[in-house]
């Protein structure tokens, strides 16, 4: 699998000099095409800052980010905007959809922004929504849709323009658990099926059920990387790294803060 997204020693500081706060501390990671990664951690762990940098919304203080072969750090504001609309698919916690556009129009909006709204594009938008079970809600406005339906429209919008990377910000915060599972599962299926690279930021470890890799951040650092299915399932079942450690007293966990190698990070049962 080719690497779709790569960061190298990315650091983000807020403020200057002595009052500077380290939000992200020398994070190196990579996501391959067809891979769905969960970025987890408590609030203040730096995962949202990381997401903002991956989305070309925020510049790293140091280090570099590549999406495909493109280095985000060297881009000007205008180039980033154009890059975002073409190469990145995005869903947000809330206020995802433009309230005065119908479900279909919201999805087509990405194609309009990219000036690729042709017949095929329209068909693709419609097809995605049908695929997500919204065939009878195509012309509904967001306020006529349930929270889950709105999230599904957002998924379609994040994928319709065939982006390199799909970023998902806390998909579960405005949904009940069952719907949240459905939404994340749908996302995972589509990311695998369409061979995109997906990064989901969540504080809810139960949502790792459908991902291929879990990256935990604490205090701006990557503290753990889990990519073994069985271990991810364990995480998901018991709901936290701390608990996992309690259950796994045999091998003390060792962390490579930067550039974590999967083999170093694996938990042994």
């Amino acid at each position: 699998m080719t690497i779709a997204l790569r960061t190298d020693e990315v650091t983000k500081l807020y403020g200057k000099d002595s009052s500077a706060v380290v939000a992200v501390d020398r994070v190196t990671l990579e996501v391959r095409r067809g891979e769905f990664v969960a970025l987890v951690g408590p609030s203040g762990s730096g995962k949202t800052s990381m997401l903002a940098m991956l989305a070309a919304l925020l510049s790293p203080t140091s280090g570099s980010i590549f999406i495909g072969d493109v280095a985000l750090g060297e881009m000007k504001e205008k180039e980033r905007t154009i890059f975002r609309r073409g190469k990145i698919g995005f869903t947000f916690q809330a206020n995802n959809l433009v309230p005065y556009l119908t479900a279909l129009e919201n999805v087509e909006l990405m194609l309009r922004l990219n000036k690729t709204l042709d017949k095929a594009g329209k068909a693709n938008a419609r097809e995605l929504l049908v695929r997500l079970g919204l065939e009878d809600r195509l012309n509904s406005l967001p306020n006529q849709l349930s929270g889950g339906q709105q999230q599904r429209v957002a998924i379609a919008r994040a994928l319709v323009h065939r982006p390199e990377v799909v970023l998902v910000d806390e998909p579960t915060s405005s949904l009940d658990t069952e719907r949240a599972f459905q939404v994340v599962e749908t996302f995972a299926n589509l990311i695998h099926e369409q061979n995109r690279a997906g990064v989901m930021v969540t504080h809810d470890l139960r949502m790792t059920k459908y991902v291929d890799k879990v990256i935990q951040m604490v205090d701006g650092k990557v503290t753990r990387l889990v990519n073994d299915r069985a271990q991810i399932d364990l995480l998901e079942r018991i709901g936290g790294f701390e608990v996992v450690e309690e259950q796994l007293p045999s091998t003390p966990f060792r962390v490579a803060v930067t550039n974590p190698q999967p083999e170093m990070m694996s938990l042994s049962m």
Partner: protein
Amino acid sequence: MSFYLALKEIWRLRGRYLLFSLVIALITILVLFIAALAGGLANANKQLIEKLDAEMLIYQDNVDLQPTSSRLGQSKLSDMRRIEGVEDVGPLGLATATFVFSDGRSAIDISLVGVEPGKPGDPPLLAGPGLRSKRHNDVVIDQDLASRASLSLGDRFIIKSIQGTEEEFYELSVVGITDSRQYFFLPSVFIPLRTWSEVRPQGESESAKAEIVFNIAAVKLQDPQLFDLVAQRMDHFVDGIEVADKQTAILALPGYTAQQSTLNTQQIFTVLIGVLVVGGFFQIQTLQKVAQIGVLKAIGSSSSMVALAILLQIILVTVIGVGIGSLGTMLLVLGMPSQIPILFTGSTVISAFFLLLFIGPIGGLVSIRLALKIDPLTAIGLSS
């Protein structure tokens, strides 16, 4: 893209935007109505002077350019005519009399304007042969009086004038109709100066004078470009006079400046209120949309795209509002009784109309600035 977003939002929220357009429409009606009233009042005050076929007006010296205080005699006219650069000079006598209906309807006050037939001041005609020196009871009336008193060519009518302490009645005959030429809010009746001198209201001592006295003189120049030069000569060669151009004369009309500045102030304040109302509305609209605009920017809309969409909405809402308001004002004006001086087609109304079209974009500047400043990071709950 901006057009698409702007129009979609307006259409989906058409109730809200229409309501707001109606607010702008009401402001428009108020501003245009005040402008029309200012125009109408100005017109009713200055029309006679403004339409004079002359460039220069001569007053008696030291009367502050007040026509009714000014007194000039026939001998001065001959002096003026001899000045180089003067084409012709006509006397203007200004007085007030009352038009009396024979059927008992309530009387109409009129401006009785004494002119010398064929000289500056004698109005151009829409109909009829006009004034002739020897026909003393012939008059030219303006359209305003013709319509209000239902008079036409050849009709006779009676005016009432106070001589000494007595009411006197004179019968006059319409030999010409000119366009509307109100003076001091009253419709005008043009009458040969000699007759004017007899019928105008006057105290008994005045009527004893031998020389015909009038108020001001209207001077037509051979070359209007040489106004200053002729004015200098006039000052130099004719004693006891003051020279003014038409604009100065109009500004000096009793109450003219005070009245116009009052109405202009009202108009300016209403426009300012309009700017603030539009500004407030779109500011609240934009504040409500901060999260949504953040998302739009995060998925790749540029700031200029979002700001342009808001600007387009502001322009559209303003144009619709001003359009409805203008139409409303027109209907309102049509329904007004003719005595209320309203001029809907005057330059004041037209400039007010264009000014109103700018209240939206000017008021909306703050919200456009706000929209430009919204950081796409707000979409994921961060701020820069």
